[in-house]
């Protein structure tokens, strides 16, 4: 099962503002919770998300424990040229997930 899902329109017109949705599977353990034995559960979250359009960064987010599990980010960009949108999530304990989507601009 894919651990990341992105939603990008496959084809769009040049200059159109497109909406991008990026979802990744992650528990986003806050570090504030405790087990029933009172031991604190260490923090394990995604710290950063970056979206690049043909190699140029267009959107970046810094996440904190207040982001819900399985972080979903919705944002927009102007469709400038055909190519690839690359998504990258990085977090605690060496967590890294990458995903990409092709877009055709006519």
């Amino acid at each position: 099962m894919a651990s990341a899902v992105v939603n990008v329109p496959a084809t769009t017109k040049r200059g159109e503002i497109i909406e991008i949705k990026a979802l990744v599977r992650h528990a986003m353990e806050t570090g504030f919770r405790r087990t029933q034995l009172g031991e604190s559960i260490p923090r394990d979250i995604i710290r950063q998300f970056v979206c690049s359009y043909n190699g140029v960064e267009i959107f970046r987010a810094e996440l904190h424990p207040a982001i819900a599990a399985n972080p979903l980010l919705t944002f927009t960009t102007v469709a400038t040229e055909s190519g690839t949108l690359a998504f990258r999530w990085t977090g605690d304990n060496g967590f890294t997930v990458t995903e990409s989507a092709a877009i055709t601009v006519v």
Binding site: R60, E62, L73
Partner: protein
């Protein structure tokens, strides 16, 4: 009335020892977090619309969207949007960085909300100004400190 849960949370907080204190961020902590981002620049109200459901049943996953009025041109655009809470354990929620290529200064995500409180979004514009918008939410079931799920 002190419920068993609140008592346990308070007891847990005491157990942290020196530097413990309240587990929750206070409005003062939120102000500090905001100052870290904006510095000494004034933050004006307006231009930022923070949208959240006013009544929250499941605060482990609350939809949050921020829309900022901006032409998003290279000369006049939103550089960043920061979201802060008063009563979560930490005041920072998310910071996003965008630019004129975004086309629209509009983002959405899902957040955890610990308690009934006011959530604030601050937008940083390319001219160096800061504008803010906020939303009040009422929580019926708290996130972040829920136990018994493990």
């Amino acid at each position: 009335m002190t419920s068993r849960r609140n008592f346990l949370i308070a007891a847990g907080g005491l157990g942290l020892g020196a530097g413990g204190g309240s587990v929750f961020a206070t409005p003062a902590a939120m102000q500090d977090a905001i100052r870290t981002v904006v510095g000494n620049a004034p933050v004006r109200r307006g231009r930022v619309k923070l949208d959240m459901p006013p009544l929250i049943d499941n605060s482990n996953s609350v939809p949050l969207s921020v829309a900022v009025e901006s032409p998003m041109t290279p000369a006049d655009h939103v550089k960043a949007i920061h979201v802060f809470t008063e009563k979560n354990p930490q005041p920072n929620v998310v910071s996003v960085f965008l630019g004129p290529r975004a086309g629209r200064a509009s983002i959405a995500t899902r957040v955890r909300i610990a308690d009934t409180q006011t959530v604030t979004a601050i937008a940083e514009f390319s001219d160096g100004s800061f504008w803010s918008g906020s939303a009040s939410v009422v929580v019926t079931l708290s996130a972040c400190l829920e136990e018994g799920l493990i």
